[in-house]
């Protein structure tokens, strides 16, 4: 399938704009999403299947791939697995299967985020920004199904699962999950409220500093254990710091 060019009606992308590759077998969705991304200031290109995706990546590369799950030929899961094995570029899965179980499968093969169709296009753009920011910030290659251990806890990024030292599954809300992920990716560093807002609150809703404090206190409660010291320390006037040292595993 030929690469669909960005819609002619959209303005030219600014120079240095992040390059997003949209992979979907439905032409209308391809062009519609390209439109949305272009208007949001991305440099959007599109591909109709996994083979076309490979060609584009080889020729020009991309900063981010938005990948459909169900496509003729190689399916999205297997394509995402290959990209995750390479470690670049980050992937957002877009799928008609939106169950928690499907999402976990998608994240476990190494996708950086997972959205169910039909989604709010602006949410997709916001998630794309967050993924790019994270990728730039951590600048690390992430293999599939990453998990870390700290202070007896085990945190699984794909499953969004936190296992406490007793092996009990502690569910996190979306906000708590993002916050903990931001802390774990930047351990033993003071993070300001603005930084945390940026890293952990990627939705369009207006969020205030106060919301960060609320999330932090909730997360603290879930991480609170008698025999473990304070894992999230308040640094007066500056922000918060994650005191544990996460180990892969």
């Amino acid at each position: 399938m030929p690469d669909a060019p960005p819609s002619p009606t959209s303005p030219a992308p600014p120079p240095g704009a992040p390059r997003v590759l949209i992979v979907d077998d439905d032409a209308d969705i391809r062009s519609g999403l390209a439109d949305v991304f272009t208007r949001a200031g991305f440099n959007a290109v599109a591909a109709g299947d996994a083979a076309a995706m490979d060609r584009v990546l080889e020729a020009d590369g991309a900063d981010l791939v938005v990948l459909d799950l169900m496509m003729p030929g190689e399916d999205g899961l297997s394509a995402a697995r290959r990209l995750a094995a390479r470690g670049w570029p980050p992937v957002i899965m877009l799928s008609a299967l939106g169950d928690d179980a499907d999402r976990i499968v998608g994240l476990e093969v190494g996708a950086d985020d997972y959205l169910a169709k039909p989604c709010n296009p602006r949410e997709l753009v916001a998630r794309a920004r967050a993924v790019l920011r994270r990728a730039r910030d951590t600048d690390s290659k992430r293999g599939p199904a990453e998990a870390v251990r700290f202070a007896g806890f085990r945190f699984d990024f794909a499953r969004r699962e936190l296992l406490d030292p007793d092996g009990v599954l502690v569910t996190l809300s979306t906000g708590e999950f993002r916050l903990l992920r931001a802390f774990i990716e930047r351990p033993q560093r003071v993070l300001s409220r603005d930084q945390l807002l940026d890293l952990a609150f990627s939705n369009d809703n207006e969020v205030f500093d106060r919301a960060v404090d609320v999330q932090v206190s909730r997360l603290r409660k879930k991480l609170e254990r008698a025999d473990i010291g304070e894992l999230i320390r308040t640094v007066r006037g500056e922000g918060y710091m994650f005191t544990a040292k996460p180990q892969p595993g």
Partner: protein, 498 residues
């Protein structure tokens, strides 16, 4: 709940053990309750001989001992009320031999008619008797032998003897060997269960009783030991055998259950008795069909989801370019159709038994769902402990709570979620402020595709939320019920075992 029963192994073992025990109990009862074996029959003259010997020993101040009899020395004359009859003849005989007045001697016994009971001659006795006879014969012959060494003379003597034999009338035949069993010699009294006593010079009484009870006890003890040992060994064997028989059945049941829960499990091993192998084959065939069915269903659902949601996504993208009024309407419609599709697919693909059960913090689970809702500006609140650990399926329980909250928001505008522990149960309560559900409809709303027909509820959704919630709760061993909230509205209560 299936009825609890003994495993087959226990049944078989108990059966065998009980059968054996019953058999042996009857035997023991027969031994104990039937009259004891009669005492050995003895010759009266020998008994008196033994007593006379012992009397001499007792007079010397010692207690006599001998096999087969109990000896005692007492101050009293032994009682003979229960003895069948005193033997007058033997009493007189014994008194004479001990040189005592017959009044100071007791002989009592069970007489045994000599023509009924044969007297048993011991082999040893016979051997001794025969040897003595042979010795006597030898002695006689050597006395007849000529003293000289003259062979001729000897030959003559032999000749003479031959002649003698030829001439002499035939010698009386040799007495026949005594048979093993023979009637007693004439004039001998046979007796059993006897008691013989005589007064000693110091006025005490020497008593001799035939020993029979001890022998009987000994015999019972030996029998009991044998029975006990046999019983123990047989019980052990029965247990081993029963376990051998039951183990494959147990394994079969286990793997059949696993296959029932997850058709992707390894097939049942075809082993054990023939009937079991047949059953295992049948289960495996069923499993293969199930697996094909599940794969087919999964594929079909994915295709349905894809085909329905792709146009919705297109619609959503078109809406982005439409004018704001039309956009909001389109977005709302798309969202409603999507909710329907979601509930159908979730209901159709959901198999509440498949997800793994883990230890999870139910309070954190409910709380995080409520937080997510609250962040999306929905009127949902949480009240409850910070931690309540149960065993369950994380995704299933999330879906359960999500469904209940959706329901509350749809029919009752708000959702007040409460978690508490009630004994063995963790309880989740979701209250709304809607019109509630009339008692008559409370069971109906749990059926699939039934929606509350309450006025004013232009409910979107397929009417699957509550039935799915109940299915999940029941898969956890709990249940979902509807009641009344205070001051108004419906109160949905979920009970889950801790």
């Amino acid at each position: 709940m299936p009825k609890r029963g003994w495993p087959i192994a226990a049944h078989l073992a108990a059966l065998v053990a009980m059968a054996l025990a019953a058999a042996y109990i009857v035997n023991i009862a027969a031994v104990v309750m039937l009259p004891p074996r009669p005492s050995d029959v003895m010759r009266g003259d020998k008994v008196l001989d033994a007593f006379v010997e012992a009397y001499a020993v007792a007079k010397a101040g010692r207690t006599p001992r001998s096999e087969g009899a109990r000896w005692s020395i007492a101050d009293q004359r032994p009682r003979t009320d229960r003895m069948p009859r005193p033997g007058k003849l033997l009493t007189r005989d014994l008194a004479r031999r001990l040189d005592l007045d017959p009044g100071r001697v007791v002989v009592a016994f069970d007489p045994t008619p000599s023509d009924v009971v044969v007297f048993r001659v011991r082999r040893e006795e016979m051997r001794v008797a025969r040897e003595a006879e042979r010795n006597a014969e030898d002695a006689r012959r050597s006395a007849e032998r000529p003293r000289g060494e003259d062979r001729r003379v000897e030959e003559i003597v032999i000749e003479d003897r031959r002649r003698d034999r030829a001439d002499a009338p035939p010698r009386p035949p040799e007495p026949p060997e005594p048979p093993l069993f023979a009637p007693p010699p004439p004039g001998v009294v046979l007796m059993s269960g006897f008691l013989v006593a005589a007064e000693l010079p110091d006025g005490r009484w020497l008593t001799m009783r035939q020993q029979s009870t001890a022998e009987t006890i000994d015999w019972i003890a030996r029998a009991a030991l044998g029975i006990g040992a046999t019983l123990a060994i047989l019980l052990l064997l029965a247990l081993l055998f029963a376990r051998r028989l039951a183990a494959p059945i147990q394994r079969f049941a286990d793997s059949a259950r696993r296959v029932g829960v997850d058709p992707g499990e390894a097939p049942v091993r075809e082993e054990g008795p023939r009937e079991l192998r047949t059953a295992a084959r049948a289960v495996n065939a069923m499993q293969a069909r199930l697996r094909a069915l599940v794969a087919e269903r999964t594929e079909m659902l994915a295709a349905v989801a894809h085909d329905l949601r792709t146009p919705l996504m297109r619609m959503r993208l078109v809406a982005e370019n439409a004018d704001p009024a039309l956009r909001d309407k389109l977005v709302k419609e798309a969202a409603e159709i999507d909710a329907l599709v979601s509930s159908f697919i979730a209901f159709a693909r959901d198999d509440p038994t498949r997800e793994a059960r883990v230890r999870l913090d139910l309070a954190a689970l409910v709380q995080s769902l409520v937080d997510d809702r609250a962040e999306a500006a929905q009127p949902v609140t949480y009240e409850g402990p910070d931690r309540l650990v149960i065993t369950g399926q994380a995704l299933g329980l999330k879906r359960l709570v999500d469904n209940l909250v959706d329901n509350a928001l749809k029919y009752g505008a708000v959702a007040r979620v409460r978690v508490r522990q009630d004994g063995e149960y963790a309880v989740i309560e979701v209250a709304d402020e809607g019109p509630g559900v009339p008692p008559a409809e409370r069971e109906k709303v749990f059926r699939p595709f039934v929606r509350g027909e309450t006025a004013g509820a232009q409910a979107a959704g397929a009417g699957l939320g509550l039935s799915a919630a109940r299915e999940i709760a029941r898969a956890h061993g709990g249940d979902v019920e509807i009641g009344d909230a205070q001051p108004r509205g419906a109160l949905i209560t979920v009970r889950l075992p801790v």
